[in-house]
Structures are given as structure tokens and as C-alpha cells.
């Protein structure tokens, strides 16, 4: 009996063993007839150009008009990336070249139509599982493509919220691809935009996407991180570290320090910022040092009223959450995973640089550091 898993394994084997055999797709062949459940031909279509995280592509917060088919293209890229400032090099697998993949934004009732491309330069089959879609293993069952192939998947965004997507090519490949960086998030906004607990509209001036990633990098006998020539070469060693469940790196946006220094996130006093935070594999607990979550959808699902005034919020592994905050004070803020060992020692720290006027009513240094007074 051919189980799905066996089928995937053989597909995997075939692509590994003889990539030349599948290099056939012409432009004609690459246009498969996607059977639609209903007539979608009258729906308007819109193409979206994705942005590299932490930035998010342009979008309306309140939908203009009725549902549409939103077209995205993502190219899978296996590539070596640097994941810390010590120069540790890592064989990553990425959606569209970044860890995490880009944040996609649509509205409830829209159709997401994704063209997924696996270039010949890659070595492995990949697919995509959208937690926000319904059926077909989140789309994973319909999107497994080998190097040199592409596919188009369409699904209806029926539930508003922030959701993870990730690669899930079967068996032990699933966790490995996910912790190699192959994950991202989609935000399905309510058509009328976000609402607070009283049902009043909530608008944001800026949105940032923070994708948290746990990496498991093998070390050599001297304790130095090992470098590999391709993902396959790293597999056996990496699985051993993975199975210990202790990550060597816990980072935001693909590398320790990717959202600090000159890449620190910018804002100003009075500005309202939406932070979408995803973790496809492991629990995390974002905290804004010196600030709060005014409205937080901890589980990320907008049909539930947001929690208010949070200090720290919990993002379950395999989910994305959303938090809104209006900055009230200028200065530097650290946005961290408040497991502080992971934040400071393993890398899960971002910085906000906020311009504006200081509010003495909220905080004031009454006595600067001075000698301890006697008597």
C-alpha cells in the first residue's frame, strides 16, 4: 500500500536521484487547469508585491469593495545565511529569500492565489501549509514541487487573524525544513478592519513583522559551529541537535541583531504600531521593555476581542499573534522574547528607536545617581 508518507519519500528520492528527469516544464505545461468550486472568473484580481520582513507590503486596513483574488508569487530559495555576528553560517531554506518568509495580507472573504516556484538551483522538494486555509493539509498535499517545478494554489480566507504558513514536505523533512527557516505568516484582516474590545475601530500607522526562529546548529570537536556545503550534508548532525530540543540560536528575522543597530525598528511618540509575531515551531513570549501591548490578540484571531494593557504575551509554537501599541515616550525600547536567556544570549532581541518629546508626568529621574546621603 502506498501511504502518503511513502509517496512523498519516493518523490523525494526521485528528485534527489535524478533531478534531470523532471526538467521538462514548458510555459504551456506550467499552466494547469485549477478546478474551481464556483465561478470566480468575475472576481477582480490584484497582484501583490511582497516586502522583505520586518516590512509589510502596502495594504488597506479596511477593505475597499468586495472579495477579490489576491495573487502572490513566492520563490523558494535554499541558501547559506549568516545567523549571528560571530559569522556562523547556516544552510537555510526560505520562502522568497528571507527568514521568515514575507508577511502576506488579505481580507476575510478574499481568495489567496499563490504561485509557488522551486527553481532548479534548489536541491529538495518543498511545499506550503497555510494554517489559515481549509483542507488538503493546509495546501501541503497540493503543492509539493521538485526543483524545476512550480504550482499554483488558491484558497479562500475564511477566518480573520494572523496565521503561520510553513513548508511540510512529509516525515522528518517537516521539522527540519521549518527550523531551517521555511516559515512565515499571513494576516487576514476583517473587511471592516481591526476592532477593539468595545467594537470600535483600531487603526495602525505602521506594521512590523517579527518572525522568530529557533536554529539548531551542530558544533565540531572544538566547540565551533560547523559549516556545511549544502543542506543535505548538514541533515544528520542537525537532526541530532534538534532532537535534544535545545536551540543554539533563537533569533528574530533570521539572525541575531537583524533588528538592532542600523536596522532598529523606527517609530515616534504618538504613532500606533502593529507588531505581528510568529513562531512556527516553539513557544515564545514577546515583551516590549518600557512599553506595553495596548491591544493584544495573543492567539492572533481577530474574531476574539483583544486583551488590553499586557506586559508580556504568549505566542504558542505554530501560531502568530498581533499586538498594538501607541508609543508615549521617546527613547530606545528593546522588544524581546522575555525568556531573557533567549533574548540576550541566544539572539531574540529587536530594538525600537522612538523620536519625540519626553513626558515627565509618566517618568522623571528625581535624584540622579549621587553619593548615599548620611544620617
Amino acid at each position: 500500500m502506498i501511504t502518503r508518507r511513502n509517496a512523498l519519500k519516493s518523490a523525494l528520492f526521485a528528485s534527489m536521484a535524478a533531478p534531470a528527469l523532471i526538467r521538462t516544464a514548458s510555459a504551456e505545461e506550467a499552466k494547469p487547469a485549477v478546478a474551481a468550486g464556483e465561478d470566480l472568473s468575475k472576481l477582480p484580481r490584484r497582484k501583490v508585491k511582497l516586502a522583505r520582513p520586518p516590512f509589510v507590503h502596502e495594504h488597506d486596513q479596511v477593505a475597499k469593495g468586495g472579495p477579490a483574488i489576491i495573487e502572490f508569487t513566492m520563490t523558494i530559495e535554499e541558501k547559506e545565511i549568516q545567523i549571528d555576528d560571530e559569522g556562523t553560517m547556516f544552510q537555510a531554506m526560505t520562502f522568497d529569500g528571507s527568514v521568515p518568509g514575507p508577511l502576506m495580507v488579505v481580507h476575510e472573504g478574499d481568495y489567496v492565489e499563490l504561485t509557488l516556484v522551486n527553481p532548479e538551483t534548489n536541491t529538495m522538494p518543498h511545499n506550503i501549509d497555510f494554517h489559515s486555509s481549509t483542507g488538503g493539509l493546509g495546501g501541503g498535499a497540493l503543492t509539493l514541487i521538485n526543483p524545476g517545478e512550480q504550482t499554483v494554489l488558491r484558497w479562500k480566507a475564511t477566518r480573520p487573524g494572523t496565521f503561520v504558513y510553513h513548508c511540510a514536505p512529509g516525515g522528518p523533512m517537516i521539522p527540519w525544513h521549518v527550523v531551517s527557516g521555511m516559515n512565515g505568516a499571513i494576516m487576514v484582516l476583517p473587511r471592516e478592519g481591526l476592532k477593539n474590545d468595545k467594537g470600535e475601530p483600531v487603526k495602525y500607522d505602521r506594521v512590523y513583522y517579527v518572525g522568530e526562529q529557533d536554529f539548531y546548529v551542530p558544533k565540531d570537536a572544538d566547540g565551533n559551529y560547523k559549516r556545511y556545503s549544502d543542506p543535505g550534508e548538514s541533515y544528520a548532525d542537525t537532526v541530532e541537535v534538534m532532537n535534544g530540543l535545545v536551540p543554539t540560536h533563537v533569533v528574530f528575522n533570521g539572525a541575531a541583531g537583524s533588528l538592532t543597530g542600523e536596522n532598529a525598528l523606527k517609530s515616534k511618540v504618538g504613532e500606533t504600531v502593529l507588531i505581528v509575531h510568529s513562531q512556527a515551531n516553539r513557544d515564545t513570549r514577546p515583551h516590549l521593555i518600557g512599553g506595553h501591548g495596548d491591544y493584544v490578540w495573543e492567539t492572533g484571531k481577530f474574531n476574539n476581542p483583544p486583551e488590553k494593557d499586557l506586559e508580556t504575551w504568549f505566542i504558542r509554537g505554530g501560531s502568530a499573534g498581533a499586538a498594538i501599541y501607541t508609543f508615549l515616550q521617546p527613547g530606545l525600547y528593546a522588544y524581546v522574547n522575555h525568556n531573557l536567556i533567549e533574548a540576550v544570549n541566544l539572539g531574540a532581541t529587536a530594538h525600537f528607536q522612538v523620536e519625540g518629546e519626553w513626558n515627565n508626568d509618566l517618568m522623571q529621574q528625581v535624584v540622579p545617581p549621587s553619593p548615599i546621603s548620611q544620617g
Binding site: D85, E86, G87, D222, G223, N224, A256, G257, T260, G261, E262, A264, I289, Q329, P330, G331, L332, A334, V336, L340, A343, V344, N345, G347, T349, H351, Q353, V354, E355, G356, E357, W358, N360, Q365, V367, P368, P369, S370, P371
Partner: protein
């Protein structure tokens, strides 16, 4: 004739090796050094300064070095440090792998650097010690990077200074280099001191201090904390004495040193023991 003049005269007689080329001297006693000439310079003071309670840039003072002093031409190398470890006088460096011995030693705490100085002094019979921040800044010469923030005191908005400092350090941080380079890779300054302000910060003997000034810039009081020492480099870093790797993110926003290493100053031999030791070495030839 004063005592010090007497000693100077004695030194001219006995310190002939100081005139020999570096190589010969290195063989005679310990690491290669450079002579920093006597002179004066404008010194951006170390420590944090408060003026009427508000943070300001450190004051600049004119510092005079009446005497030349000797400082290592290169940072202490892996091989040199390993000798101290082998003698059970120094702890293992952090991340001590199979690095080539000629590379500069990193993963060094203030305590490690001090232990090495004590051991080297013991072995050579000379007085080796960490430089003060003042000496380091002077010996850094044209490689010294002023770490003033350059923002006017702002009594209404403390955040302006935080952001300015962050931006300054962030632009420095973007030039960081994770690779430990060959000695000499960062070049020499006008004195021939190599690799100043590269990616390895160097421990100094100077303690953290906070100085409180009045409106006229007069020092009112000072707090010193010798649990925290200055590591000098692209900017001053204030680091606890037991830390071997200062990297990290979190609340302490800014650019931490890439690596921690050190170089030492050799004091001019004054004790009779040192003089005799040196005398013996000169006449017995290289060991």
C-alpha cells in the same frame, strides 16, 4: 642629585638593551614593545559625567607624559597566553580552540589579563601591567576614536542623548568584523603600535567612575567602581572584571566589543632585583 635623577643615570648605564632592535630585545626578555615618547595630548576623560545631574560628554583635559613608556607592539597572542595557562597561572580563555598561536588572544577577562601580567612579571623579573585608560588613549595616537556623543545637554528630554548614542554606536557596529585577524592586519599608528581600535577591545586598568560636576564644570563628587573596568577600542566599554565575552543584546542597547583581548605596558626597571635580572640576561645572552 635627586633620587630620580640618580635612577635615570643608572638606567642609561644599565638599559643598553633598550636601544637594541625589537627582535633582539624580544629574545632577551618577553614580548616586543614600542617606546611611546614623552609628550602631551588632549584627553577625553574616562567615566560618565553628570552636570547638575544631567548626562554630558566627558571633559577634555590636557595630559602630560613626562617620561616615555613602553607598550607591547601587538596584542598578547594565543601562544603567549597559552604559556601562562600551561604554567597554571592563567585560566583557559573562553572559546580556546585550536587557534594558531600567533593570532591575538581573545576571550580574555580583566582577571585573566591581570593574571597574565603577574605571571609575565614573575617569569621575566620585570614589571608588566595593564595600561591605564590615559596611557592607552595616548599610545593609541591617531587611532584613538573620540567617544563623545556630541549632543547638547537636554534637561527636558533624556531620550535625545540615548538615541544619539545608539545611532553613533550603531554606525560603529555596522563595521564590526567577526574574524580574528593576523597580528598587524589593522596596521600601525604613528608610534608603531599595531591593531589599535580593530575588532579586539583591550583591557585597561582604569575603573568605572561617575563624576558629578556643578554648572561651572567643577568636580563635586565622584563614585568609583573597580568591579567594572574599561576595555578600550572603537569606543570605551565598561565591563565587569570577570567577563570574557561582552557580546549580547537585550536591555543594554548599544554596540558591545566584538572581542576582548589586551596588551601590556612594561615599566622601566627601578627595583634592584629587576635591574640585576636584566643585567644577567644581557650578559648571558638569549635563553
Amino acid at each position: 642629585m635627586s633620587a630620580s635623577t640618580c635612577i635615570k643615570a643608572l638606567m642609561i648605564l644599565l638599559c643598553v638593551p633598550a636601544m637594541l632592535p625589537d627582535i633582539a630585545r624580544a629574545e632577551a626578555s618577553g614580548p616586543t614593545t614600542v617606546m611611546i615618547p614623552a609628550g602631551r595630548f588632549d584627553y577625553r576623560s574616562s567615566g560618565e559625567f553628570l552636570e547638575n545631574g544631567y548626562p554630558v560628554d566627558a571633559t577634555i583635559e590636557e595630559v602630560v607624559f613626562e617620561e616615555p613608556f613602553e607598550i607591547m607592539r601587538f596584542q598578547v597572542s594565543v601562544g603567549q597566553y597559552e604559556q601562562c595557562v600551561a604554567a597554571n597561572a592563567c585560566r583557559e580563555r573562553l572559546g580556546a580552540g585550536r587557534q594558531p598561536g600567533h593570532l591575538p588572544a581573545t576571550g580574555i577577562s580583566f582577571r585573566d589579563a591581570s593574571d597574565y601580567a603577574n605571571w609575565l612579571s614573575e617569569v621575566t623579573g620585570e614589571k608588566w601591567r595593564l595600561p591605564t585608560d590615559k596611557e592607552w588613549a595616548y599610545a593609541a595616537g591617531d587611532r584613538f576614536i573620540d567617544d563623545a556623543i556630541g549632543v547638547e545637554k537636554d534637561t527636558a528630554n533624556p531620550a535625545r542623548r540615548w538615541i544619539a548614542r545608539y545611532s553613533k554606536y550603531a554606525s560603529l557596529g555596522s563595521q564590526t568584523d567577526p574574524e580574528i585577524r593576523e597580528p598587524g592586519a589593522y596596521g600601525a599608528n604613528q608610534f608603531g603600535v599595531h591593531d589599535i581600535s580593530g575588532n579586539i577591545w583591550e583591557w585597561t586598568d582604569t575603573c568605572y567612575s561617575r563624576k558629578r560636576l556643578d554648572g561651572e564644570g567643577k568636580l563635586m563628587s565622584e563614585t568609583e567602581n573597580c568591579g567594572v573596568r574599561i576595555a578600550a577600542g572603537q569606543h570605551r566599554a565598561y565591563i565587569s572584571f570577570f567577563i570574557q565575552d561582552a557580546k549580547g543584546g537585550g536591555c543594554s542597547v548599544g554596540a558591545p566589543p566584538e572581542y576582548l583581548g589586551f596588551r601590556l605596558v612594561r615599566e622601566r626597571p627601578v627595583g634592584i632585583k629587576a635591574v640585576l635580572h636584566r643585567f644577567r640576561k644581557v650578559f648571558s645572552g638569549p635563553e
